[in-house]
């Protein structure tokens, strides 16, 4: 009697947790599609073993000009959850969602974030229109760790909604990860503090660090607009060179998806130092210096500190 009840209870419990008394059938992972590498990393950190993540725009990829492949549509169709950045970062995504016919829920990681306007986070802007694909908001919200925490929270909630059984697991993972992000934030702020105040400025080719600038007090000046398509005018370049010379901006940074030559020319002519590669729109490959979000931020701040504290202005 007791045995039989135990057996039934065991069976029920087994079925509830996905284990079978007849041997194991593999626990089915939740198929998730993340639009680009930073989101992919977050989903993996929070989802752990319960999820199987496909990232569309991979390491070193450029989400601004990405062209989805048939393989992407397939992954999309098989997914139960799609995590996107939002703020018009992925212009190509709505069409892909539609054409793949997916029944997945689409979750915006930036829900609840106060977006920055792409135009007003630099002091010396006087430019007219950029050839801007995004609209008015700067989509690179993950550059501020405070925002990254909101991303994590949103993703945790989305995963829990898609897979209620794993809710506890997701919450635990998220809590642990948020703690790591706290630590990261502390490190970043400390690094910035170590840079003398008058040297906290740099030039970079891609205007994707708006949130970083606002959160941590470094000024980034860009010769081009936010998207990779905009072209520089002689006037802009002249202005930046004058500015670098006048304000004694110490360094120029190259970004991993756009053409570095312009930044090099500006550095050469203005006397600024060329800093290391900064990662903004995508992670590097696993084996590279910025394979996860945390490693990316650590790499960036380390390069920034190195370039801004070294050498003469």
């Amino acid at each position: 009697m007791l045995n039989r009840r135990a057996l039934v209870a065991g069976l029920a419990f087994g079925l509830a947790t996905g284990a079978s008394p007849f041997g194991t059938f593999a626990q089915e992972k939740l198929p998730v599609v993340a639009s680009f590498s930073v989101l992919g990393d977050f989903v993996r950190q929070i989802g752990g073993d319960r999820v199987s993540v496909t990232t569309l725009v991979g390491p070193d990829g450029d989400a601004h000009v990405y062209s989805p492949t048939p393989a992407d549509a397939k992954a999309m169709a098989a997914a139960r959850l799609v995590v996107v950045n939002g703020l018009h970062f992925e212009g190509w995504l709505p069409r892909l969602v539609k054409s793949s016919g997916t029944k997945a829920t689409v979750a915006e990681a930036t829900k609840g974030i106060t977006p920055l306007e792409a135009d007003d986070d630099h002091d010396e802007k006087g430019k007219g229109g950029h050839a801007h694909a995004h609209g008015h908001d700067d989509p690179h919200a993950w550059q501020s760790i405070a925002n990254a925490k909101i991303y994590v929270a949103n993703i945790r909630d989305a995963l829990s909604a898609a897979d209620p059984v794993g809710k506890a697991s997701y919450e635990a993972n998220a809590k642990a990860y948020l703690a790591e992000l706290d630590k990261l934030e502390g490190e970043v702020k400390a690094a910035i503090a170590r840079i003398p105040a008058e040297r906290r400025k740099a030039i970079t080719t891609h205007d994707a660090f708006g949130y970083f600038v606002k959160a941590y007090g470094i000024a980034f000046i860009a010769p081009q607009g936010v998207s990779t398509e905009a072209e520089a005018s002689a006037k802009d370049v002249a202005r930046i060179i004058r500015q670098v010379k006048a304000q004694k901006v110490p360094a120029v940074f190259l970004e991993n998806v756009t053409n570095p030559r312009l930044a090099e020319q500006i550095a050469r002519e203005s006397g600024a130092k060329v800093g290391g590669r900064l990662y903004s729109d995508a992670l590097s490959a696993e084996s590279g210096p910025a394979g996860t979000y945390i490693r990316m931020m650590k790499h960036n701040i380390s390069e920034i500190e190195k370039a801004l504290t070294a050498g003469p202005a």
Binding site: V57, G61, E231, A232, S233, V257, E264
Partner: protein, 291 residues
């Protein structure tokens, strides 16, 4: 005041001086080649070539990563292969120049896209490959100067058979065997100038500086020598004017397109006012002569 506008920017900024030198070098060698392309009805070759070099650049990227020299050399090789294959097919078979070039560049482009996709990365290779007129370092300037020199010397040496090949290829064939060699050498020069131009200045500038001044010059003279000189001259003026415009304009005018717009303005002006069949001459004819 005028100094500030016309000379000042170039005195003050190194990048402006370099841009001027770069565009001048491109005009000097590109414009004569553009004239011959135009006369041979091959004006769209430049655009086709911009796509045709992709597999070469892709292979260069596969081998050496984001190494600009590797990708440029690869692009050059692919460009030569396409141009020479198209030229040879046009000479030896019933297919004409335009069809054979179209066929080969499309194949080449598809190959290039496939190679890039195999690598699995969504990088816009061509975007990285193409340079910017405001970012000409010493290496690139030397490249442009070298290409200009080689082109001018070759054009000088090949001048007669090249002209003959355009005007009366049948006659050339009857008096000399050099027709094929000259034709293919000319195509090689085209590819060289285009790829160097892409590398240094981007597609728009490289092709635009080749074709627009040539087209404009055609409205002012019917003598081949003057055509060549005038085209080079128009090119240099466009470069200078475009740079000044991009520097001084109220709202931000990107440099490359400004130069091409300047060249375009010269073209439209020539179309309207040119002494050789310009529209104004047609609409307001002068009194005819006695004899």
């Amino acid at each position: 005041m005028l100094y500030d506008l016309l000379i000042g920017p170039f005195a003050e900024f190194d990048f402006m001086r370099r841009a001027l030198v770069g565009v001048a070098a491109l005009s000097v060698s590109g414009a004569p080649i553009g004239v011959f392309l135009m006369l041979r009805r091959m004006s769209l070759t430049g655009d086709a070539m911009a796509h045709a070099i992709l597999p070469g650049a892709a292979l260069g990227y596969l081998v050496a990563g984001f190494s600009l020299p590797a990708m440029t050399v690869g692009g050059l090789a692919a460009g030569f292969a396409v141009a020479l294959a198209a030229g040879a097919v046009a000479r030896a078979t019933v297919l004409k120049e335009d069809a054979s070039l179209a066929a080969f560049y499309l194949i080449s482009l598809a190959l290039g896209v496939t190679i890039v996709s195999l690598r699995g990365s969504a990088i816009d290779l061509l975007h990285v490959l193409f340079g910017n007129v405001l970012a000409l370092d010493d290496q690139v300037l030397i490249l442009l100067a070298g290409v200009a020199t080689v082109s001018l010397l070759s054009l000088a040496a090949l001048y007669r058979p090249l002209v003959l090949e355009c005007v009366d290829p049948g006659f050339l064939r009857s008096v000399s065997r050099s027709g094929g060699v000259v034709h293919l050498t000319f195509l090689a020069l085209v590819v060289l100038n285009l790829v160097a131009g892409f590398h240094a200045l981007g597609t728009l500038l490289a092709v635009g500086m080749m074709m627009l001044p040539a087209a404009a010059a055609r409205f002012w003279t019917a003598d081949i020598t003057r055509l060549l000189l005038l085209a080079a001259g128009f090119g240099m003026v466009s470069g200078y004017a475009g740079l000044v415009l991009s520097y001084a304009a109220g709202s931000s005018l990107p440099a490359g397109p400004s130069i091409i717009l300047a060249a375009g303005a010269i073209y439209i002006g020539s179309l309207l006012l040119g002494s050789q069949d310009g529209l104004a001459r047609r609409l307001l004819p002068r009194v005819h002569l006695q004899r």
